[in-house]
């Protein structure tokens, strides 16, 4: 079942920059520093770069798989593993995408509940988000990508504002460089990969890119833009916090925003959290778009109905996750799965594809 996407619905290769970057920068950015610093301390900026290099390689592998097949991962699964096993793998991947969407939504709602509205019930924001997600996905992939572009441009001013705490920075913290063992650094790198999760959706939206393979450099550029942003933010955080303080700060980025003052505005984190919605929205929407698209391709049902169904399940699935423990458990679960998808599954798929192509070529000659 080879489905070619009409040119009218495709996006140009440079848009991949925005999708990848928007997917990687999300709700994780609010609190990734603490998790990495737990193992790598003041050397935490090194794991970010190491993880950046590793993921850059993973993106290269994904492009290899997609280039050979000229199609999305559902078709790849079917080609390599047959209808049943392939379908099962696709279904697992779709479930994973769905769960990332749920996770991002729930984590953002948690941030709002902790920082802004203590008594706001989860279901209120879930219902609003569900309606919004449905409206956006109904507009098609181009609308989803449009939100990614907006999600990169509009909040970009926040990144400059995040440089302002450098006023209180102490760069001597960093010295001596590399005082942790390689094991600690690698453990930090493992935790960093989690913040970069989201780019795997490329496996599904690849057919929506004009001249698909030409977008590779844009994907890499988008990824490296994220790496730069994360590294800079990490450096600002490490220069600002002491190691002990960082260990007990769940959302260091918001704490950084908190100390910024202008003559007419204080407590910048309220604005920051609100503007973060524009960053988070593309994450949620793209994840659900991917999941619904996957189901459409897998079972040949109308995406309209899938989205409607998915949005309705949101209202059932999200509100029961109602305390810090539950959110944390969900986070750890999805992050573990995400880590293995990136580090193990995609290389595995790449290897299988490589052997498959070799074998096929041999048989033909």
């Amino acid at each position: 079942m080879h489905v070619k996407v009409k040119e009218k619905f495709q996006v140009s290769p440079p848009m991949v920059f925005f999708i990848i970057h928007a997917m990687q920068v999300g709700v994780g950015m609010l609190g990734f520093q603490r998790i990495i610093a737990k193992s790598s301390g003041y050397d935490s900026w090194i794991p970010v770069i190491i993880a950046g290099v590793v993921i850059s390689l993973v993106i290269r592998m994904m492009y290899y798989i997609l280039k050979v097949n000229h199609n999305d991962v559902i078709e790849v699964h079917r080609n390599l593993f047959g209808k049943w096993l392939g379908g099962l793998l696709s279904l697992a991947l779709i479930l994973y995408f769905y769960m990332t969407g749920v996770l991002v939504l729930r984590t953002y709602i948690e941030v709002i509940q902790v920082w802004v509205f203590e008594d706001l019930p989860t279901w209120v924001l879930t219902v609003l988000a569900a309606g919004f997600v449905y409206y956006v996905i109904k507009g098609g992939f181009r609308t989803v990508v449009g939100l990614c572009v907006a999600g990169v441009f509009i909040p970009s001013i926040l990144f400059f504002i995040l440089l302002m705490p450098l006023e209180y920075a102490d760069f001597l913290n960093f010295l001596p460089i590399w005082k942790h063992s390689l094991k600690d650094i690698l453990a930090g790198a493992k935790d960093t990969t989690l913040t970069f999760i989201g780019f795997e959706l490329l496996l599904l939206f690849y057919p929506f890119i004009k001249h698909g393979y030409r977008s590779h450099k844009w994907a890499q550029l988008g990824h490296w833009a994220s790496v730069v942003v994360y590294t800079l933010l990490m450096i600002v955080t490490l220069a600002f916090f002491s190691e002990g303080q960082l260990k007990i700060t769940i959302w260091p980025t918001l704490t950084l925003l908190k100390i910024i003052e202008f003559p007419f505005i204080e407590r910048f984190e309220y604005l920051g959290i609100s503007l973060w919605l524009i960053i988070v929205v593309p994450n949620i929407v793209t994840a659900f778009w991917g999941a619904s698209r996957g189901l459409k391709r897998l079972f040949s049902i109308k995406q309209r109905y899938v989205v409607l169904f998915m949005v309705l399940t949101l209202i059932i699935v999200v509100p029961p996750i109602d305390n810090r423990q539950a959110v944390n458990t969900l986070n750890e679960w999805v992050n573990q799965i995400g880590f293995w998808v990136i580090i193990a599954y995609i290389p595995f798929l790449c290897a299988v594809q490589f052997i498959h192509s070799k074998w096929k070529r041999k048989n033909e000659t």
Partner: protein, 500 residues
């Protein structure tokens, strides 16, 4: 429930007799402004039939009746040669005859011919003078605006673009009004697909009375569930000429002093023609100011509501004292206070727009000063909110295209309501919704948010700022122009050394 559904009927013209002479006689019995006039000449009697209201009587007497009295005539051909009118036609077809009579022809019946009638053109011409643009006024630049007559409007455009490739296609729209609609484009620049889309959609309009250009625009627009206008409407011939040169397609109807520019983008609603007459740095400054005022106008009141309802902490201590002092006596929550003032402003604006100019000014003063001041003194609203709302209203007037001003008026309210419900998060949510909405919008199938999405960096030189003309080497890609280059930069590129 079948008995509820009555059979609906369309309007159909009343039955006509086969013979032209009988038909004319029947017409004069039914319509009292349809007149029969017998002209006695030395060579025989001529009978004229015409709609009294559609005919220029001076022309009828001087150019038609007078020569027929002195020149000998015998056949229809003789009459045609005798009169001082070029546009004449002999016909026996009643449909043609009907159209002719209704567009200002006089029917002339010769004594011995009962089956054929000669039609002579002598239309009454009531027309406003070409005057100064009212809604798109500019301090410098041409001071002409369109009038209600299509021919004059086309003349105003043609005068600015004296090329044969300026093509005009005419379509009659409306089953009753048969409104004459002209589509204008430059062949070789405008994209054929755009021209076809506009033409196709206008042809498919099925409505009895098309009120005018703006009504027609609403019938052919891509999305009707939106508060954003999808086409720029303009009363300035210079704007039309400039748009045509960029590869846009224009349409206008007879009887409306406006033209519709398609496709349009969001940014265009914030450009005024004056931006192109002023030097580029001043134009850019004004444009940035206008965009800022758009943002301010939409967000000022919602931010006030959000901050004062939920986020007191945002305001620094010294400023907070001032705000609390002004709000301490007010019994309402910020959202009611804000809605009350916004409602007052909208009321004033609407009253001002409906009343004659001189009374309108009085209303503005009475409303603005008296009601505003009184409501503060009565303790219904705070001083600060009064300033915020008044500034926001002022800012919304800077939109150079009238429809966008209306949009700004309306979209403020969902923001205020969500700000009252969810504070700053509510504002961000509404913003995200409007972003998604704008991304989905299209204007005759071309993206509305271009050049931001899809990203077309080359077109950015005429968005937030207007760069100098020397940078406008290519036409904007939004319209997919068939020829892209506007000028050759070969000469300008040659770099000159100092003192050479």
């Amino acid at each position: 429930m079948k008995f509820l559904r009555r059979k609906q009927q369309f309007y159909a013209a009343s039955p006509r007799s086969k013979n032209v002479s009988e038909w004319l006689a029947a017409l004069s019995q039914n319509n009292e402004d349809f007149i029969k006039k017998v002209l006695q000449t030395p060579f025989g009697n001529l009978t004229f039939w015409y709609y009294n209201s559609l005919i220029d009587h001076e022309r009828l007497n001087v150019d038609i009746c007078k020569p027929l009295k002195s020149q000998p005539w015998k056949t229809a051909g003789d009459v045609e040669r005798a009169v001082y009118v070029d546009n004449t036609e002999v016909t026996s077809d009643i449909t043609v005859a009907n159209d002719k009579l209704l567009s200002g022809f006089a029917a002339c019946q010769l004594p011995d011919n009962k089956n054929e009638v000669l039609f002579i053109n002598a239309p009454a011409d009531v027309q406003r003078e070409v005057s100064v643009p009212e809604t798109e006024f500019s301090v410098i630049g041409p001071q002409e605006s369109f009038v209600e007559k299509l021919e004059t409007n086309i003349f105003l455009v043609r005068k600015r673009l004296p090329i044969e490739d300026l093509r005009i296609r005419k379509i009659g729209v409306g089953t009753l009004s048969k409104t004459e609609t002209a589509i204008l484009y430059i062949d070789g620049i405008a994209d054929d697909e755009n021209v076809q889309t506009v033409e196709q959609r206008i042809k498919e309009v099925q409505f009895d009375e098309v009120l005018g250009t703006n009504a027609l625009a609403q019938m052919i627009q891509d999305h009707s569930m939106t508060v954003f206008p999808q086409f720029v409407n303009t009363e300035r011939p210079d704007r039309v000429a400039a748009s045509l040169a960029e590869g846009k397609v224009i349409f206008m109807t007879n009887g409306s002093p406006e033209a519709i520019v398609t496709p349009s983008t969001l940014v265009e609603f914030f450009t005024s023609l004056e931006d192109y007459y002023l030097p580029w740095y001043i134009a850019s400054f004004v444009r940035v100011l206008r965009l800022f005022s758009f943002v301010f106008s939409v967000f000022a009141t919602p931010v006030y509501v959000a901050v004062l309802t939920y986020h007191y902490e945002l305001i620094p201590k010294d400023l907070l004292a001032t705000i609390i002092a002004s709000r301490s006596n007010i019994p309402f929550p910020p959202v009611l206070e804000a809605l009350f003032l916004e409602f007052t402003i909208e009321l004033l604006r609407e009253a001002g727009a409906r009343l004659p100019t001189k009374v309108g000014q009085t209303i503005g003063i009475v409303g603005g000063i008296v009601i505003g001041q009184a409501s503060v003194e009565a303790g219904l609203t705070s001083n600060i909110l009064l300033i915020v709302v008044a500034l926001a209203a002022l800012a919304s007037f800077t939109a150079p295209v009238y429809q966008m001003g209306n949009t700004v008026r309306v979209i403020r309210f969902p923001f205020i309501i969500f700000a009252a419900l969810f504070g700053a998060v509510g504002i961000a949510l509404t913003l995200a919704f409007f972003l998604a909405h704008l991304i989905r919008l299209e204007s005759i199938g071309r993206p509305y948010l271009s050049p931001f999405y899809p990203l077309r960096l080359a077109d950015w030189k005429d968005t937030f700022v207007r760069l100098p003309y020397s940078t406008f080497t290519k036409r904007p890609t939004q319209m997919r122009p068939e020829s892209k280059k506007r000028m050759s930069m070969a000469k300008a590129d040659k770099e000159k050394d100092i003192d050479e």
